[in-house]
Symmetry: C2
Subunit: 129 residues, 2 copies
DNA sequence: CTGTATCCCACACGATACTG
DNA sequence: CAGTATCGTGTGGGATACAG
């Protein structure tokens, strides 16, 4: 889904405010990748299979502007840039975890199997591959 | 932001699977409204200030197809329809709460005030108006 | 290696009118 | 009241080429 960024405006509640920050096709995947470890631009491009350089760069700029990711540039040749989560990004990631569990149990699971028991322990693979 | 629904495909993780369900400009607001109490079509239209009938109807149909909302039609004159959350919708709403708290503290608060303390009790106004 | 610069387009959303 | 039918549009994102 694409919802237009309405930055200028006032949000109705905290959820849609947060949705504005993570509302990009690849943003949660970027968050997830950076939660594992810092990544270089090329690493992200390879791990987010299908993203174009233009869009990846744009998303990273936005996440940086929102204080979610930190961009560290090493002045070397060849160029070397590392992206990592800021403390704020870490908290966002944590806030996303329940949603990940929900999606895992209510979308992914039901898409492949029949129904899902109530006590399946999916918590350990929260955002599962 | 609007991210295109990629229903046909396989999701990379639970989060973007869930994002597909709530990925509509008004969906979280619908969820929120229905969490308070069941609503009629016209009530939703009035509470979600700015939504058009077409889009509201489309979102409700998608949420219904995803098993998030229940549509109860009373065969009367004039027509009477009530939308409410399914148990699955309730769990989704619950999974959204941490994100709401995050947005409240990291987007809404910082937009109006300076910085936010760590222990402010915003938990009680989770999805706050 | 880490990006910009263009061009293009599908599609989510909006506006308006109409119907059972 | 509770929606459909049509038409128009903004923009997020894809493809490709080029640059520091």
């Amino acid at each position: 889904m694409v919802m237009g960024r309405r930055r200028p405006g006032s949000y109705v509640c905290g959820v849609d405010a947060a949705m504005d920050v993570i509302g990009g096709k690849w943003k949660v995947l970027i968050l997830w990748a950076l939660a594992v470890r810092p990544h270089r631009f090329g690493e992200l491009r390879r791990e987010l299979h299908g993203v174009t350089e233009k869009v990846l760069a744009a998303h990273l700029r936005e996440l940086e502007a929102d204080g979610i990711v930190h961009r560290e540039e090493y002045d070397e040749v060849p160029p070397h840039v590392e992206y990592s989560l800021t403390p704020k990004g870490v908290t966002l990631n944590a806030a996303l975890e329940p949603l990940g569990v929900w999606g895992q149990r209510n979308v992914l699971a039901s898409a492949t199997a029949g129904e899902v028991g109530e006590d399946d322990d999916v918590a350990l693979i929260t955002r599962g591959a």
